[in-house]
Amino acid sequence: MMSMDTARVRAVVRKELRDYRRRRSIVVAMIILPVVFLIEPTLTVFLAPAGTNLQVPLLLLLLIPVVTPSTLAAYSIVGEREQGTMEPLLTTPLRQEEFILGKASAVMIPTLVLSYAVFGLFLAVVRIFAKSAASTAVFHQGPVLLAIALLTPLMAGWAVIVGMAVSVRASEIRVAQQLGMVASFPPLVAVILLALGVFHPSVRVALLFAGVLLLIDARAVPLVSRMFDRERLVTGKKADRPRGAIGMWRGRAD
């Protein structure tokens, strides 16, 4: 088992966050998307007649941690290649697991801050401005609110890891960002299935989802690290490993 140097991971996170702050378009896009997803649940709570099912509109909030990081995650590795910074980076002692974890963490931090901030803002607005009946209806959706709180980091983890897996393999940024949106399909399907009543939100369903996502997220960093081929990232060509020739390099991850 290779040791992971947390100082190097922190260096990647620090640099990434610094870089995001200097890109106004990234900051604006990251703020706009969650606000868009806030519109439907807010309108439903304020305008829909009493007795309207609030589960599905509330579950739309779960798409925020999926959609928000997809662009950044998809950009993370192919972006380094396109701006010519990948090669100098690969000449340092940075291991690929450290690089992937650092990049993933740097996307996760603003995603979680924004997702929870928007979620909190929504609850605060409902509590303060909505009619008493509507407010009570929202705060009585225990399993849904629990699911949102519990699944937000796991959903974000899923989106980040899918986006980065695409970014490792993609040859250009636009392709990576389009394919990165694929990450939002499974959660979207889950929300549609809930809306169609195929299964009902409950604590048990929320915990089951959380368990599955936790398993996927936990295995994802080593998985994406294995997809990280230094030679392909530098030369654009996959490492040519003749069978039985110089096997020492096969499957190694440094």
Binding site: D5, A7, R8, R10, A11, V12, R14, K15, R18, D19, R22, R23, Q83, G84, T85, M86, E87, P88, L89, L90, T91, T92, P93, L94, R95, R230, E231, V234, T235, K237, A239, D240, R241, P242, A245, I246, M248, W249, R252, D254
Partner: protein, 320 residues
Amino acid sequence: MREVTLAQQAAVVVDRLTKCFGERTAYSEVSFEVAHGEVFGFLGPNGAGKTTMVRTLGTLIEPSSGTATVAGIPLAPDNAVEIRQHVSIMPEAPGLYLRLTVSENLEYFAGLYGLHQPAARIRDALDAVNLGDRAGDLCGGLSKGLRQRVGLARTLLSDPVVMFLDEPTSGLDPVATREVHNLITNLRQSGTTIFLTTHRLEEAERLCDRVAILNTTLRTVGRTEDLRAQLFTKTLVVQTLEPLGDPGRLFTGIPGVDGWRSDGPGSYVLSVPDPRRVAPEVTRGLVAAGADVVSIGEAKHSLEDVYLELVDEDVEARGQ
């Protein structure tokens, strides 16, 4: 060809290293050694495999066959991080984060190398490339030459045992080029081993202790003066005011002249074993024959002559 006579400890040892990309061979069966503290020039035409060799030795890409030792560490996947800890590579394009400042770029890399007292190291590195007063500038606002110098400062940060510089003066103006040359000279004095790939032959001749010429295979390796001696016979160039009446009889009669040829009216090239010893004999012979001597001098072959001779041989061989 394998170089065997070197200082006791080699900073880089390459033994029959080959790299293929599918059907295409980048370099084949290359062997050489680089001594500690040496400035080693790695020359060759475009596509000769120079950059691929640097990337291989820097553990960015893997060799197809052969072995190597870099900074005393065998080139193997388990040693890749350790090798990268002891070497630094400056690619042809500096690859800076343009939205970060000069010092933020270096701070990032100092973090990746796990350097202690990074602020002091960054200051020293920037001072070494005369960029101490530009630390707060955004890299996106710097000229190409200044970016190249930031890239150099980055390679200095980790105090590497071996420094790989891939075309460090590519695209730089003469003043910036001279600054890079001065920096390399200073690094040599401090004992850093430098592996320099370049297209600028005068740069290699001026800076490098030894050079290797690669054209997929290693064509030659050695000191430039030794390469010149290997490839070219020693010659004296004689110029007279008027063409000689019977140059054949005159030159063959002078002791030490092995052969001669005319190189234009009043210009003659003489093959001699020792130009310094034979030149006075030739002068006396010419004066005795009544020739008006304009000049007599030893023909100097540059590294460019060596390079072109070897690369032209390859072109001719491929043509056949």
